[in-house]
Symmetry: C2
DNA sequence: ATGAAAGCGCTAACAG
DNA sequence: CTGTTAGCGCTTTCAT
């Protein structure tokens, strides 16, 4: 809190009017003599007056600040969401208080508590776990905290949230592999905590549905049971390697996200398998650099910037309308981005 | 600002003591009868009391919040810095108000003004331009605002900042290319605004110095003069393509950052040149996925998380000590990460 | 058209 | 060991 600048009282004294009049001039509210107004504005400028927003916040019981809690910043995933939120916030004169839970539910609670103590007007959060903080969130909602969940949700919780239809994404990815003639398609996931996220569950369900449509009822999942190591790329590498060494076979991989896909591809290669000739791989998220890896990754793109934008808009709406507005659960549709890792072009004879 | 919860007055009334006593109990300060204390704490818990940090901020003239202004969130670059800042902030009970300037100096000023109006205790900013806001920053510093610049600085400004020794990075990258026998090495940059950033200038100087050491005095820069298009990868693609089409030649590329390197590599390939056989490429930043692109990118790694961490620590120090502490300009040393795009392994016969 | 006064919820100096 | 009082800088009601 640097430079002790002039406050409204100083201006009032300087001009010889009351604080109230200064207020009216500054906000152009109520009747005020144009000349008085001008004089006040003039002096305010000379003194370099700047409103003290914390004083205002205390008075009006509103901070014009939202809290944003994400699981992690690594990868381009939350970066884009952040940009979306930032955009809406800036154009509505809101501030964004950001903090990272690093996937830790306890830390998530502490962060939210802190944000609430700072009296943010609302919260956007990507919850680390669908169950562990359920009660906590129920209480928040019961006590009228404006909150919108993103990316993952907490089943049964009556709140706003916005995410991708992960089930559809998983379906599209898997169907694409099936259409390329792949029949032994494995699902590669990413650590036990993440595995419980609704986003991941959705992707898996889509995978299962696509298989079922081809009368393939056996799902194979690589990952569960392994120690949770990071980064996810390493986790996937060891999951796939382990499976291959046990004699497991596959001709298609649906990776729960692009990082996992990178790890899977490396494992496949190190095992002497070619991608996409021997095994087709599809990822999820369309990370910024997935177009540049080798082979360029076929993946499911989520409209991440849009998720941030919509979440922020929804939150502001909720803040303004309070409980009156109905809960909204916005699902954005993902898109399959076909590149080389699945072999579609190979198959099409374009190679 | 949801749920109107109990305040200190409510507790005081409930327990039958004064607000001051409640204060003492809550903060465990001054003499207070253990029993009174217990009773107060008990009631506070029952009422779900939570301190109102905005009221406290107003009173103590300190918000325990820092502002963080970055130029963009795309790519993993600022993500890691953000994590570093977030880490330090969290462990010191500070909040982080984040906003993005998108490289626009005017927006940068507006954001900072807003953060200052919100009375952040200090600022961490990656300035969009080294000149356009010079006066603005001079005024900030003159009015005692605690501020630490990151990544780029404003020459001649007496303030704290932390960045990488970009000159050294540029030197290491270029020397590596020279040691591989490359002699016609071009520098590929990224748009006119970015080109003015001190970080970019430093990299170029390092490039020049390395060349000079080999008695190569001709520097070749690709990019200047072209229309500023985004993403940078596209910009680099067209810069390199353009040069090649004009009959330009090269056997080495030092790209100002990894995104630019990706674009350069693609342009080279599309022109029938092989990387690294015909042209060696080195990037800068060591983006998360640079290990996965094809060929894996040789690049200069900046300790980004560390930059964020140090910047935040420095800022907190500055906030606490005010003007007394001397200005610190911390430079962190970058490291060359040798992968495949330069052909080092090729050369070493390890292929 | 302007002003007086109260109060948001907390901290802190001072008094007892 | 506890209470009284003032005040951070602003907004807002009520009065003039």
């Amino acid at each position: 809190m640097a430079r002790q600048r002039a406050d409204m009282d100083t201006i009032a004294r300087e001009v010889g009017v009351s604080k109230t009049t200064v207020y009216r001039a500054l906000h152009n509210k109520g009747r005020i003599h144009p000349q008085t107004r001008e004089r006040i504005l003039q002096v305010a400028r000379e003194l370099g007056y700047r409103p003290n927003l914390v004083a205002r916040s205390l008075r009006v019981q509103k901070t014009s600040t939202v809290g944003l809690v994400v699981v992690g910043l690594a990868g381009s995933f939350y970066s884009h969401i952040l940009e979306g939120v930032d955009g809406v916030a800036q154009s509505n004169q809101y501030g964004v208080l950001l903090a990272c839970s690093y996937g830790n539910p306890r830390k998530e609670r502490e962060i939210i508590q802190m944000l609430l103590d700072k009296r943010v007007d609302g919260l956007i959060v990507a919850p680390a776990d669908p169950e562990e903080n359920r009660e906590f969130y129920e209480e928040l909602i019961a006590s009228q905290v404006s909150i919108v969940l993103i990316d993952r949700y907490i089943p049964g919780l009556p709140n706003d949230f916005v995410a991708t239809t992960n089930e559809l994404g998983g379906y599209l990815a898997t169907r694409h592999l099936l259409q390329l003639g792949r029949r032994r398609i494995v699902f590669v996931s990413n650590g036990s905590r993440e595995r419980r996220a609704t986003s991941v569950i959705g992707r898996f369900e889509g995978y299962r549905r696509a298989l079922a449509e081809c009368n393939l009822c056996e799902t194979v999942e690589l990952g569960p049971g392994l120690p949770d190591i990071l980064p996810e790329e390493e986790y996937a590498y060891s999951a796939v390697t382990h499976y291959l060494q046990q004699g497991g076979t596959m001709d298609g991989v649906f990776a729960v996200n692009d990082d996992v896909a990178y790890g899977a591809i490396r494992a496949l290669r190190d095992h002497g398998l070619r991608v996409p000739e021997d095994v087709s791989v599809v990822g999820f998220d369309n990370q910024d650099t997935s177009a540049f890896i080798f082979p360029p990754l076929t993946t499911v793109a989520q409209p991440m910037y849009e998720i941030g934008r919509v979440a922020a808009s929804l939150l502001l709406e909720r803040i303004h309308k309070g409980r009156t507005a109905p809960q909204q659960q916005v699902l954005l549709v993902p898109q399959l981005v076909v590149r080389q890792s699945c072999g579609a072009y190979l198959k099409a004879g374009q190679r």
